[in-house]
């Protein structure tokens, strides 16, 4: 079986497992990827929601801090990340699956329109990748500590997997709250982003990706390029959905271990290690 087909099957299996709530299976676990617990079919919690709840308005009242709700998603995400790094982004995350589909459009645009190619190669692009760490620290943690639930109020994934399904399944039962329209604008921008830049959400904004990324430096499973045999043909870099300079990467935090470089390398010098 082709390697990328195996990955697709894995993504579909995880998509189904995240939606077992449709069969009445609602667990107390956190998923180690991005999926909103407000989805009518969600089987587990979003780790970010648990993190937000654990520190809700702690600045006003330190007694609000819940250590168990804080540690629980961190331990789950950390355990998965020590084993596989950011592989969950490439192999399990339903939003990753969505971006796999939209990535074809982004790749087409990048080939046909020079502007999109230049965006990916601009020197500022690598600094933009740090914005996801700001989202994690600023929007998920700091706003929860000082203000309240800001991230969940505007989260585009909540809009996609929670808001729209509920509006379809229960028409007329709910009406937009005050932050619906700002969130809708952010959702439209999110949608444009993933069509214009391959894996745009994972690259720049995903707070769970930000949490997992540093673990690539120490994860058991990782990618390895054989420097001595590499011909620097850069085919691997061209096919990389995260836009990584693959021949020169060394446990790159952006790598989602999708294995496209492994499949495409004509000299078989890019390999999974630790399996």
């Amino acid at each position: 079986m082709k390697f990328q087909l195996k990955r697709l099957i894995s993504q579909i299996i995880f998509l189904f497992s995240a939606n077992l709530g449709a069969l009445g299976i609602k667990t107390g676990f956190c998923v180690p990827f991005f999926y909103c617990n407000a989805c009518p079919a969600a089987s587990s919690a979003c780790p970010l929601r648990s993190m937000e709840l654990s520190v809700y308005k702690v600045f006003n009242n330190p007694n609000n801090f819940s250590l168990k709700l804080f540690l629980y998603p961190i331990i789950i995400l950390g355990g998965v990340a020590v084993l596989t790094g950011r592989a969950v982004c490439g192999w399990a995350c339903p939003i990753g699956l969505l971006q796999r589909a939209t990535g074809r459009v982004a790749r087409f645009l990048k080939k046909k329109i020079p502007f999109f190619k230049r965006i990916g190669q601009h020197k500022i692009e690598r600094y933009l990748r740090y914005s996801k760490y700001l989202v994690l620290i600023g929007l998920v943690f700091l706003t929860s500590i000082f203000i309240g639930f800001v991230f969940t109020d505007i989260c585009p994934i909540g809009m996609l997997t929670g808001t729209f399904p509920i509006m379809i399944l229960k028409p007329g039962v709910y009406i937009p709250a005050s932050y619906f329209y700002p969130a809708l604008i952010i959702f439209i921008l999110f949608f444009l982003l993933i069509f214009l830049i391959e894996r745009g959400w994972c690259r720049y904004f995903c707070p769970i990706g930000a949490f997992l990324a540093p673990f690539n430096k120490v994860s058991i499973i990782h990618m390895k390029v054989d420097d001595k045999k590499c011909k620097h043909c850069n085919i691997c870099s061209d096919v990389c959905p995260m836009g990584i300079d693959v021949p020169n990467m060394n446990r790159d935090p952006e790598c989602i271990l999708c294995g496209k470089c492994v499949s495409e390398c004509p000299y078989s010098v890019v390999k999974f290690k630790g399996i």
Partner: protein
């Protein structure tokens, strides 16, 4: 290279032990299941229930109005306030709206310096436009109390008036009398958000007007 492998093993060991410790020594699994997965997060979906000022006669599960409702309704309209302890929207409603209109103070564990507890039941009566209003507050956190009388009866009434059925909080029910195809019967309006004192007063006055309009015919 070996030091990295040792680090990986230590990290994995700590995280696995930590996971099972948290899972089996705390109630985090139940808390996540109950408060995050099973309860609809209105913040996540950016929506609010569409229930503004709609009076209904049929209860959601078809059950009759509880006895304590009918007893209190003989004195005037009733306001039921359902909440859980960890509910920012409930705090906002009670501390910014109910407390000012009814001139009472609610404990607030999210803001107060010391540990505070939300009482399971508060009952009070106030006069508006020379009409008695009964206000009953329920904290439905403790599911065990659902089966204990009399609190159990009160808390169970939630299922009768929860028109959305998603266990959303806060939930406020206005109960008064209305005209239903030739009969004067108890009717109710369920809301999940009241943001201002003016809005609450408007709802109270509306329930009083309905009550005074129909109370004589109901006897």
């Amino acid at each position: 290279m070996k030091s990295l492998q040792i680090l990986q093993i230590i990290m994995l060991f700590v995280l696995v032990i930590g996971f099972f410790s948290v899972l089996f020594t705390t109630d985090v699994y139940d808390e996540v299941q109950r408060k995050i997965v099973e309860e609809l997060c209105l913040s996540c979906i950016k929506l609010k229930p569409n229930t503004i000022k709609e009076y209904r006669f049929e209860t959601t599960n078809g059950a009759p109005h509880p006895d304590f409702i009918l007893e209190n309704l003989s004195k005037g309209p009733i306001i039921l306030d359902y909440r859980i302890t960890f509910c920012p929207g409930c705090h906002d409603l009670e501390n910014n709206v109910f407390s000012k209109v009814f001139n009472i103070s609610f404990p607030n564990p999210l803001e107060d310096d010391e540990d505070t507890e939300i009482p399971d039941l508060l009952y009070l009566e106030r006069q508006f436009k020379n009409t008695n209003i009964t206000f009953i507050h329920f904290n439905t956190d403790d599911n065990n109390s659902l089966d204990v009388s009399p609190d159990g009866i009160y808390a169970k009434s939630r299922n009768i008036y929860d028109i959305v059925g998603d266990e959303g909080n806060p939930m406020v029910v206005f109960i008064t009398y209305g005209y239903n195809h030739g009969f004067i019967q108890p009717c109710y309006s369920t809301l999940y958000e009241i943001t201002t004192q003016e809005e609450l007063l408007e709802l109270i006055y509306e329930s009083i007007d309905l009550y005074n309009e129909h109370k004589d015919a109901s006897n």
